[in-house]
Amino acid sequence: MALSKNVCVLFKRCFQNKLSFKYLSTHSQPPIFPGAKAEWTQKLEFTGTHSYSPLPIYQVLDQQGQIIDASEDPKLNSNILEKMYKDMTLLNVLDKILYESQRQGRISFYMTNYGEEAAHIGSAAALTTNDVVYGQYREVGVLLWRGFTLPELMNQCYGNAEDKGKGRQMPVHYGSKNLNFVTISSPLTTQMPQAAGAAYALKGKNRVVICYFGEGAASEGDAHAALNFAATLDCPVIFFCRNNGYAISTPANEQYRGDGIGGRGPGYGINTLRVDGNDPLAVYNATRKAKEYAITESKPVLIEAMTYRVGHHSTSDDSSAYRSKEEVDHWSTNQNPVNRFRMYLQNNNLWNDELEKKWLAEARKNVISAFEEAEKRPKPNWSEMFKDVYETMPDYLVKQMESMQKHVEQYKEHYPVKNYSK
């Protein structure tokens, strides 16, 4: 149906231009193929990565924390800047304690965020809590920014009775309906087409969806579907790629051959920004611009934040098997986003050694206390195990649950009922 309509339009156009097929000359008339808007050429040559310069990397701060071009200063007020820095450093404190707790066998799994603090906080600060987040799994900074509390984080990692996820997911699979942060899903890249779908549903509502993903995830077929659907359906979504150089052990140069992930954006007809992911102000500006465009034009934007995963992929990984200590050290010292931002704040008299010392002590204390509290809390009530497979509990499950209720009541001295919430 659609095809025949297009063909009719083409024919009509030919005749309106007073052309007959006999005289139709490809040299004098521009091409009218429905599949591309382009010019004719008589030169046969490849178009490839050599045909364009790679996308430049947008920066605001230099390595010493100085603003390079004053006109790019987002002029954030000091409260915002301080919160950004505190959340970045809190993330480090949190990671250290939870990583070690996994090593001690107190939680089963963990993933750190080292090296990507600026990408999380810079992007989160440019959005409001009303905007919807689809994360991959390494975006805890975004949650911290939105006000996800330390107890909430710890309760999830422990899967205790206070965990909103009722202990049903592995650690780091956070989610918060109030904060519009969609619960993390383990299989890779499922979040990308879903984010396009959510943005489609939120069109015209003055809200944007941000979808985080890694350069490895961008290899999944879902990534292609997501970008193409978002473009063709005009979805107000920001696809935010954290290009951190490694997908577990696979380095970026084995993951793709083009100009990163950003290089793909124009191919999908998506406006694209490539940004220094270790520069929180650059990430902030890029995300703010992306949001404005996505909402006013109702179109997707692709942001590629160039960064480096300083930590191991997860507690199941040992990255010394595939990269050198020198390489990691270079990034964690010379290119550290937290240090760079701290220098910026100090340059502007917004931070100093004394404040640093005081804040880190406070952060550590808060994290440890939330951690200890979470460890002590009881497990979810046993009846939860029958719930939530279906919205309405099927009769056979109701029967099982009632029978267990009677059984546990009758023989409660044989069950560790005190370990479970009432």
Binding site: R168, M170, S186, E220, G221, A247, I248, A321, M385, V389
Partner: protein
């Protein structure tokens, strides 16, 4: 009575195969001298030998080369065979499964590793619609000799999306062969057979068994050793009840059999090894002898392997030999809980099998 009968049973088992024995009968010289091999090494040696034997065999998947595989099954193979034959791919299951299908169509013999079978869901169209059906649709002109392998079934502490058995899913599909090995012998003999097989084979390993050692004979260590696809193994003979299981559920069944032997119930444990083709003759022969049947599997009950076996028994002459309705012992009909205690409860345990057996035999 129980103590008296349990000793000879355990000794008898020692010559069979059980990792438990090496722990419990540490003084038995026979076990101490028997060669042991982990399932991981069994798979690794099978891959190595088949790559050495046939230049067309190559491995592809995520992290299989430099990193030796997420579960180290391909350890050392990249060093030995190089980039040409052990290939790290980008993270696109549909992509590298499709590349494997194409390479097989063009005459190579790919071994396609999925980091786990949970991620093979991304590639299911290539596995079923392309690998599984091309031979038929090309009227027998294009065969697709691939092995899709990786860990399957419940792992530990990884929650609903990373812990499930796909045995029944693949066994459902004509065109595929489906293998679910238990011991190191199974893993070695069947992986070698799978690689040599002209058809696509789905090879379902178990993460929790990778590090387990099993006794292994010189015959099994021979480079020429292969096991027939589609043939089950009687792991333990018995006359009262037939238990049919695959993969880790065989372990559960053998432990239950040992416990039941102490109560005078002799269980015959059949390790299916292949889920498709299913060795129905071995099952019926056993049922005709024992008159009682239990199936044990970690997968869900609905449309599961046990459901298939019980249905086939119902349709066969063997049905008339049953003294009691057969019983399925399966994983619980729920997404896998993350909580450790519930995760255990969601999987068939020795006590569940013992209970089913006692119910059949009408004993307390």
């Amino acid at each position: 009575m129980a103590t008296l009968s349990s000793t000879p049973t355990m000794l008898n088992l020692a010559s069979k195969a059980s990792k438990l024995l090496s722990k419990r009968l540490f003084s038995t010289t026979k076990v101490a001298t028997a060669k042991q091999m982990t399932v991981r090494d069994a798979l690794n040696s099978a891959l190595d030998e088949e790559m050495e034997k046939d230049e067309r065999v190559f491995i592809l998947g995520e992290e299989v080369a430099l990193y030796d595989g997420a579960y180290k099954v391909t350890r050392g193979l990249w060093k030995k065979y190089g980039d040409k034959r052990v290939i790290d791919t980008p993270i696109t299951e549909m992509g590298f499964a499709g590349v494997a299908v194409g390479a097989a169509m063009a005459g190579l013999k790919p071994v396609c590793e999925f980091m786990t079978f949970n991620f093979a869901m991304q590639a299911i169209d290539q596995i079923i619609n392309s690998a599984g059906k091309t031979f038929y649709m090309s009227a027998g002109r294009v065969n697709v000799p691939i092995v899709f392998r990786g860990p399957n079934g419940a792992a530990a502490g990884v929650g609903a999306q990373h812990s499930q058995c796909y045995g029944a899913w693949y066994a459902h599909c004509p065109g595929l062969k489906v293998i679910s090995p238990y011991t190191s012998e199974d893993a070695r003999g069947l992986l070698k057979a799978a690689i040599r097989d002209p058809d696509p084979v789905v090879f379902l390993e178990n993460e929790l068994l990778y590090g387990v050692q099993y006794p292994i004979s010189d015959e099994v260590l021979s480079k020429d050793f292969v096991l027939p696809i589609g043939k089950a193994k009687i792991e333990r003979p018995g006359k009262h009840i037939t238990i049919v299981a695959h993969s880790k559920a065989v372990e559960t069944s053998l432990e239950a059999a040992k416990e039941l032997a102490g109560k005078g119930i002799e269980v015959e444990v059949i390790n299916l090894r292949s889920l498709r083709p299913l060795d129905f003759n071995t099952i019926t022969a056993s049922v005709v002898k024992t008159n009682h049947l239990i199936s044990v599997e970690q997968g869900w009950p609905t449309c599961g392997i046990g459901a298939e076996i019980l249905a086939r028994i119902m349709e066969s002459e063997a049905f008339y030999h049953l003294d009691q309705p057969a019983i399925r012992v399966t994983g619980v009909d729920t997404p896998m809980p993350y909580t450790k205690s519930l995760e255990g409860a969601a999987l068939p345990q020795v006590a569940d099998v013992v209970k089913a057996a006692k119910k059949l035999m009408k004993v307390k």
